[in-house]
Symmetry: C2
Subunit: 247 residues, 2 copies
């Protein structure tokens, strides 16, 4: 692999063998896909709900639950289950007094049908010709397999948080990937749209690629609009990453 120099980043050594990707936001447009699915559900049921707001609240309300698992307040619980529980908690806020179990399960399963960004499939296909690629996500393995089949993501391997029973940014996730791949941290790159994720990976010796996703949280997004450190590669999308890595 030729050395890659990107503006504002360190030269990338030739040692990288595998790239693992944050998935929600980095690889798939969870917000756009979820809003689409929720709206369809609402139209079928003739339910008037601010589905956009529900999607945003749903995602936001999951994050403190991940932290509760991380700090031991909550026993190990997979993301599918956290999605379900968080939805049940949020419904009254949206004026929904009751939904049958089958609807709760259907809505939770909307997180399995998330589409890639326009550059995702081509970018990953190109990267796959040279690297081992896979998700490293806080999603559970079965959820990630379902997303991959739905969005036609050409992964070589799937790393879900349930393989490690830890959520990112716990070190066990990044180092667990290295161990399963039989690679040293500097041979593994994390691709992510979130600076906190890259900071954690970098502190453990992994290489880093920032992939800008400035509308992940909608048009008014204020966070992660740009790389906050000199990551090894800074890319505008996955095709740009493939390009910058010579694939």
């Amino acid at each position: 692999m030729p050395s890659v120099k990107t503006e504002g980043a360190n030269p990338l050594p030739d040692a990288v063998c595998a790239i693992v990707f944050d998935t929600f936001g980095t690889v798939v447009d969870w917000r756009g896909s979820l809003i689409h699915s929720l709206r369809n559900f609402g139209m079928e049921r003739k339910m008037e709900v601010s589905w956009e707001k529900l999607a945003d609240r749903w995602r936001a309300a999951c994050l403190p639950n991940l932290d509760r698992v991380r700090n031991g307040q909550l026993e190990w619980t997979i993301l599918d289950e956290l999605h379900y529980r968080t939805l049940v908690e949020l419904l009254p806020e949206f004026g929904i007094a009751y939904l049958p179990e089958s609807d709760l399960c259907f809505l939770t399963s909307c997180w399995h049908r998330l589409a890639g960004w326009p550059d995702t499939i081509e970018g990953l296909r190109r990267l796959r010709t040279k690297y081992i690629i896979g998700p490293l996500s806080n999603g559970n393995l079965s959820l990630l397999v379902k997303i991959a089949k739905f969005a036609e993501l050409p992964w070589d391997v799937i790393f879900g948080a349930d393989l490690f029973r830890h959520y990112k940014p716990d070190p066990e996730t990044y180092l667990g990937v290295c161990k399963f791949l039989g690679l040293r941290p500097e041979q593994v790159m994390l691709g992510a749209a979130h600076n906190y994720d890259l900071r954690a990976a970098s502190s453990l010796g992994l290489r880093t690629a920032f992939i800008a996703r400035s509308t992940e949280y909608g048009p008014g997004q204020t966070t992660d609009l740009r790389a906050e450190q000199r990551w090894d590669v800074i890319a505008t999308d996955l095709i740009d990453l493939a390009e910058k890595l010579g694939t």
Copy 2:
């Protein structure tokens, strides 16, 4: 999925969502590939060794080591490492007094370059349109990823023994797959060329497909020439399995 009736087997319920496959022998021709690689190595080095016999002894000598891990005599050790150690033990038997570390590593890595049988890629591609497919092998995850890239196996997910820190036929492997996939045992099928493997899976409630590989161990093979029980599906190869499952 339409119900499938195959001669001598039970009707297959419509519930199967995922098929996991034994890999060495069932999906890839480890013996033919290994002999090919070893012979090439021997020609380059001008070493006269019975490479065919070494391949057979190498595979056979690994099996008791898997059992030593299973019964606790040996701590958890991945297959790559067992391959390496077994090779070192076998060399004197083949009149090889010394090989440098780099050669030992190269020879061990021959297990990463195993080709599929002629029906493998087409069969898996067809099965993948309807099922989640992946290996469930005593190989470690990184070895299985390397084989998949080499043999172009279109897996959705990779289950290596190191995910469970148990070797087949320990129940933790089959049930671990079900847990990670979020499926009940009857929703998961094992495809294998080995009756012992299917027996273990079946006893835990998984569905079973026997795939005949009558030359896995060479022309003089005496074991696993046919299905020894009424497995759910009995197939002549992976294309036949795809056919019998309506894909």
